[in-house]
């Protein structure tokens, strides 16, 4: 095998993508004529076909190195297993789909900037899909018809799709511990992620997102919102206090003494909804339905929950009790401060405020005298309307730290 060419390509790849260098050098090379091109296994061995090295230009080889190491860093083997289980898939055809979807996730922003596009690489556009998505998203959007028959030779190994091949060495390979253990793989991934986060200017957006989520994958927002609201409702002080209204449980052991008992009334919750133009109706609808379901499940009674639409002015306060659904009025700019003020002015005062907003608003400068959960619709860019109205550099502050914040969607 022309190892000089192969390793010159790896060096070239490490120079073009310095933040991947640790991972590139951590791979162990195994010469193999059983693979059509280059393939990786779960233990970070890289199987290379000598014929492929001979016929491929060196600058393309560099790109293939980056491609293969991306499969490993992005943990496609494990994610492939999870996707197979989640979508109830089975068999080599589906593993090939996982490989294709994984390739799309990598290739849509891997090349350029010093790396050529290798011939025959799969892009989302090859499958008529949009760029910038994750493997799991791509996987749902195409099936293997005869249209893609020309792709079946594709073979990136178990490191790309989770299916072990007979020519792979496996966990305890004959090469005496050149494979990486779970812990070592995590550490290499962690180093690469730290490198990207420490110097985010150098890496493209796809890698930055990967680095941010590598060890803290985003959780489903429904569970997070549910947990946040539940723990707020359950916290001491929300609708819970000592009262002499009923005898305490301990009274029987203390005859002649009147002890207060700990009583609980359903906490009063006000949901403040940002109905400004920047929040879409479908987003709001889902979030509101979800909130209602959580409050219901957490034991909040309908009459103790009210909803407030809020744009620049806080409007119609509705009890959740009318059952006809919550009509929301609004549009235009947001000032959640009015929403909070209106909610707090009500009597009896709420124990908990749940605010659903995209966060493009000024926040109250002092914490309200009750617990607060903020459901935040993610926005990648500062809203244009905000920029037009004021100073273009005036990006609104993030949500305040006295609230529990859950990012929705």
């Amino acid at each position: 095998m022309d190892t000089e060419k192969l390793f010159a390509a790896r060096l070239r790849a490490a120079r073009a993508r310095p933040y991947l260098a640790t991972a590139l050098f951590a791979m162990h090379v195994v010469e193999s004529s059983r693979v059509p091109t280059m393939a990786v296994d779960r233990q970070w061995r890289c199987y290379v076909s000598p014929a492929f090295v001979d016929r491929t230009p060196e600058e393309e080889l560099a790109s293939v190195w980056v491609h293969e190491v991306s499969h490993l860093l992005r943990d496609h083997a494990r994610r492939g297993d999870l996707a197979m289980r989640a979508l109830d898939l089975d068999g080599p055809g589906d593993r090939l789909r996982i490989n294709l979807a994984a390739d799309c996730e990598i290739n849509d922003d891997a090349f350029g900037d010093g790396l050529v596009e290798p011939a025959g690489a799969i892009y989302p556009k090859t499958l008529h899909l949009e760029d910038g998505q994750l493997m799991e998203d791509y996987l749902r959007q195409f099936s293997l018809g005869t249209r893609y028959q020309h792709l079946v030779w594709l073979e990136c190994g178990s490191g790309a799709d989770g299916l072990e091949r007979e020519w792979e060495f496996g966990p305890d390979g004959p090469d005496g511990g050149h494979g990486l253990s779970d812990q070592e793989r995590d550490l290499v991934r962690f180093r690469v992620a730290q490198g990207i986060l420490g110097n985010p200017g150098r890496a493209p957006a796809g890698w930055r997102r990967w680095a941010e989520e590598a060890f803290h994958p985003p959780q489903p927002w429904r569970q997070l919102l549910g947990a946040a609201i539940r723990s707020t409702l359950a916290a001491a002080g929300a609708g819970e206090d000592y009262s002499h209204g009923r005898p305490a449980r301990r009274s029987s052991s203390l005859p002649g003494i009147v002890l207060p008992s700990l009583r609980r009334r359903p906490p009063r919750v006000t949901v403040v909804v940002d109905t400004s133009g920047s929040v879409s109706d479908s987003e709001l609808g889902t979030a509101l339905l979800e909130t209602a379901a959580i409050l219901h499940a957490a034991g909040g009674r309908r009459e103790s929950v009210s909803v407030l639409s809020c744009d620049a002015a806080a409007r119609a306060v509705r009890q959740a009790a009318d059952g006809s659904g919550w009509a929301l009025i609004g549009g235009g700019g947001t000032d959640l401060r009015t929403g909070f003020a209106t909610a707090l002015k009500r009597r009896p005062a709420p124990d908990v405020i749940v605010a659903l907003t995209d966060g493009q608003t000024p926040w109250p400068s002092t914490p309200p005298p009750c617990r607060t959960v903020i459901g935040l619709f993610p926005r990648r860019f500062p809203r244009t309307r905000w920029n037009m109205e004021g100073d273009p550099d005036d990006v609104p502050d993030g949500p305040p730290d006295w609230a529990k914040v859950v990012t929705l969607g």
């Binding site: 390509a9 600058e59 359950a234």
Partner: protein, 408 residues
């Protein structure tokens, strides 16, 4: 329980069948999660197992208790009231003189009387916050009402992840900080073996008496070394909603980490097991930083390598080998003498024997640039011709790529 003689013959047969079904053996088996659990129990730290319902947490605990020969006491936290853990007030003859003692529940009394045991607090995450607050005292101070749990009692708890606990509360950060969190997942092979009658055996880690003080020294060096460089990791409350209820770094959890490292090191546990434990005590991010720092601690010291290049043992993995050689070059740069420079070349030559040449390009070219005018180029520099050729090739193809990009 034995079937009484008066039971009907059919019931007696049923009992017999049940007894046969219960018969099972154990076998030693490499199982990381059991090893981690046993090590934490040996180190006398409270463990919290996170796992879906029905995954065999209770079965694992029963096995562990049997193996350690400790009586198992199971308490379902979610069906208890706070006073069951803090004790119920009982009035004596003269409260003004004797005060009002807080009576502990019967299982606590039994535990104390036995003097040893495994206390299993099940369904912790579905216990309401007030119960969790009462459990704080039990877990931290080992007190139930007026009873003090004897040192022979170990505490293990279990919780369902939020995804599967429909009415689950979130574990409060103070309580979460007192546990070693272990994710409990089932291994299909173990389950099949177990249903077939053979369960994996948890063995107490064998501490090597020779290594005790070295283990303590190692654990202290690892944790203090990291916290010296990264003091902000000393205490960091979980802020992101997704991380609440899990492990987070604080002086308390760092002390627990240190204890686990010392035990793991004295028992010769693998890095995999230590990784589970460390990440489960201070959280993923700080845990990984500690493990990465420990990796660096394991790397050979540049000065001793320079002192005896012929005997050098270099790590096999490319990235680690590069890190070691970079360290050697940095050491030569900080105190450049001809002797050290030559010795570094010998090291490079040794490294080249067993690794791809691209790994060496950076350290070799930096080392070459350190040459002073009166130093003679060592003969073995010719061996690096291929590394230098590779470097030039990579530069040339980079130039081609950028020229190509310019044309497009």
């Amino acid at each position: 329980m034995t079937s009484s003689a008066s039971a009907s013959p059919q019931l007696a047969l049923a009992d017999q069948l049940l007894a046969l079904l219960r018969e099972s053996a154990t076998e030693p088996r490499q199982d990381l999660q059991i090893e981690a659990l046993t090590l934490a129990v040996a180190a006398d730290l409270p463990v919290l197992l996170w796992g879906e319902p029905g995954i065999g947490k209770t079965a694992a605990l029963t096995q562990l208790a049997a193996e350690l020969d400790l009586p198992l006491t199971t308490v379902i936290a979610s069906v208890h009231e706070p006073s069951d853990f803090s004790g119920l007030p009982v009035i004596g003859d003269d409260p003004a003189v004797q005060g009002v003692p807080l009576a502990p529940p019967d299982w606590a009394v039994r535990l104390v009387r036995q003097g040893r045991g495994l206390l299993f607090l099940d369904e912790l995450s579905t216990a309401p916050p007030a119960v969790q607050a009462a459990l704080l005292r039990l877990v931290l101070e080992r007190r139930i009402g007026s009873l003090q749990l004897p040192p022979g009692v170990r505490i293990v708890a279990a919780a369902n992840p939020r995804a599967s606990a429909a009415d689950g509360w979130e574990l409060s950060p103070p309580l979460a900080n007192r546990f070693v969190h272990l994710d409990w997942v089932h291994d299909a092979q173990v389950v099949v073996r177990g249903l077939g009658g053979v369960w994996p055996r948890a063995e107490l880690p064998r501490l090597d008496p020779e290594r005790l003080s070295a283990a303590v020294e190692f654990a202290r060096r690892a944790v203090c070394g990291l916290l010296t460089v990264r003091p902000e990791l000393t205490h960091r409350l979980p802020s992101a909603e997704a991380r609440r209820g899990k492990a987070w770094p604080s002086p308390r959890s760092w002390e627990m980490t240190m204890r686990l490292l010392a035990f793991g090191s004295a028992a010769g546990s693998s890095r995999e097991v230590l990784s589970l434990l460390v990440r489960g005590t201070v959280g993923d991010g700080p845990g990984l930083e500690l493990l990465a720092a420990m990796d660096r601690m394991d790397l050979p010291d540049p000065e001793s390598l320079l002192a005896a290049p012929a005997a050098a043992v270099l790590p096999a993995r490319g990235d680690l080998r590069q890190a070691v050689l970079d360290g050697v070059v940095a050491a030569v740069r900080s105190r450049p003498t001809l002797e050290r420079w030559d010795s570094a070349w010998a090291l490079m030559a040794r490294a080249l024997e067993s690794c791809p040449p691209d790994v060496l390009v950076v350290p070799v070219s930096t080392l070459a640039s350190l040459r002073q005018d009166d130093w003679e180029v060592p003969e073995l520099i010719n061996r690096f011709a291929s590394a230098m050729r590779i470097s030039r090739r990579a530069e040339r193809s980079a130039a081609l790529t950028s020229a190509g990009a310019g044309r497009r």
